[in-house]
Symmetry: C2
Subunit: 321 residues, 2 copies
């Protein structure tokens, strides 16, 4: 493959900087899921940590660099998980953290951002407006803007998941990765393809937020006017050109899934695996549900990337009240 922005040596070094609470997460085969999915299914569980998502891997890198450089503050836009992780990583290093989010963001995520001591600013619009506002704050205050997926720390942090997947002989031939801004897909995908080129790296995005997937297929940035998905963690409209370039080098495919499949995936993970997951974390299972023929008899690994849900909405999805 060509040269992406990712570098495996830097990713290996990143492991030494990240708090161990985010590293070496559980990875195991979930046989109870397999009868309904018709293939081998292993999961990498990124929810059993203080912020209940994989985002701490990246924010640890950013916050430690800022602290070393004597910075006092940092700002990011977030659908909720990045903000929570940055609040956690920043707090323990004495950084003032500001998070800008949509006022429509998942309430549980916003509550945790506040509880972790970050300043939370809400915008009356979607995630793209939050990104604009965060950039304006950074410029006005003269502080670091952390941009998810554009800033290499976010990709390299996520990529440490890939190193763990490749530790030992892989027991899977396909990895299904939720596609949002692209940090997890490019980071994990880079490591997987570099160390085991035969493993298929397939990105999964909702039909309701398809911009980066469409961009990948058309090999140019395609934007959308709106998003309409319960998978709040991956609902962007403006793909970042540098991230698309990386993704074109790394991904074997990018597919779109229906909302109903995401819901069925969440329900399966709850009923069969005993896992509460947020919609973005069920995208891989949704992809299997939508194309059982494609994945029949394959050995899939999918990353359960977050578990921050509003319980009333979640109960509706899994069918309890």
């Amino acid at each position: 493959m060509g040269e992406s922005r990712l570098d495996t040596g830097r990713i290996r070094a990143a492991r030494g900087v990240i708090d161990p609470v985010f590293l070496d997460t559980p990875q195991y085969r979930c046989e109870a899921l397999e009868p309904e999915l018709g293939c081998g299914v292993s999961i990498k569980l990124e929810t059993a940590n203080p912020v209940r998502s994989f985002k701490g891997r990246g924010t640890e890198l950013v916050a430690s660099q800022l602290a070393e450089a004597g910075a006092r503050a940092v700002v990011c836009a977030s659908a909720g998980n990045l903000g929570q992780a940055l609040a956690w990583s920043g707090r323990r290093r004495g950084l003032d953290v500001t998070v800008v989010a949509s006022r429509f963001a998942t309430k549980a995520k916003l509550d945790r951002i506040r509880a972790l001591g970050a300043e939370l600013e809400l915008v009356d619009g979607d995630h793209e407006l939050a990104r604009e506002r965060a950039a304006a704050i950074a410029q006005y205050e003269g502080i670091r803007l952390l941009e998810d997926s554009l800033d290499l720390e976010t990709c390299e942090g996520a990529a440490t998941i890939g190193l763990e997947l490749m530790d030992g002989t892989p027991t899977f031939d396909t990895v299904l990765i939720a596609l949002g801004g692209g940090a997890m897909a490019t980071g994990v995908g880079h490591v997987v393809k570099e160390l085991a080129p035969d493993i298929d790296v397939i990105c999964v995005q909702p039909h309701g937020a398809p911009a980066l997937t469409r961009s990948w297929h058309q090999r140019r940035v395609v934007t959308t006017d709106s998003t309409n998905t319960i998978a709040d963690g991956v609902a962007g409209r403006f793909p970042i050109p540098e991230v698309l370039d990386d993704l074109l080098l790394i991904a074997d495919d990018a597919v779109l899934v229906q909302e109903q499949s995401i819901i069925t995936g969440m329900r399966l993970l709850y009923n069969q695996a005993g896992l509460i997951v947020e919609p973005s974390a069920a995208l891989g299972i949704a992809a299997i549900l939508e194309n059982p023929t494609r994945f029949a008899d394959r050995n899939i690994l999918t990353i359960i990337c977050g578990s921050n849900v509003d319980l009333p909405a979640y109960h509706g999805w899994i069918g309890v009240h």
Copy 2:
């Protein structure tokens, strides 16, 4: 302390025999639980593995020894988690596994035991009758009887959790451990007290299954005629003398909790930490809920030892339907 049956050197060696999928489990502070509990709360999560409980640590030791010795079969009595773990460990080593359980056991556990290829025999009585029946099968068939908590492998396997808790500087001053047969309490407790004698080791059992706790307080084996608790994993009536002897050397205290506190604990872990847990896994939280003054401002660690629940019952406990 005096000499228990546990030996830290043997426990360290055990780590090399256990499949890594059961080792180095997540351990993290759950700040979202703390406002309601009034103390620092960290958890050790033993549910993110193929059998959703800590029991694989012990069955890996037993099954590997049996396979090395050329044995062909093994039998155990189980409330469900030990049987599931023994089925998993035995299957991959070509052992025929028979599990004897009460027909009143948690259905999800029995289903998984069968799915893992073990022979399941149900008795029309409680766990103590299953123990009798398993012993009879072992004698008749001339095969190994695995006895939970009596057989040192089960204690040493569980004790590897203790090594992980002590890895690095402990951030807790009190560990709350579910008390059933005693393998987890004596195993983990031994390592904790040997490496950090100042840490309080407190066992927690339901009022509805108090035999071992009463035995600990009276310093002699006390049995009960029946059990009445939703915490199926810890519902024994006949404490094992050798295990009581160990527990007397190791535990700082043993307390009993009400069913309602277990339910509230499960609900808190679901609502605040995003974790599905079985009743036994909520005993530590229940103990905090019942005695907030005792634990105020302490830093607690509790082991989330299993997540195998029947969902209809679970939904009743956490208050959704």
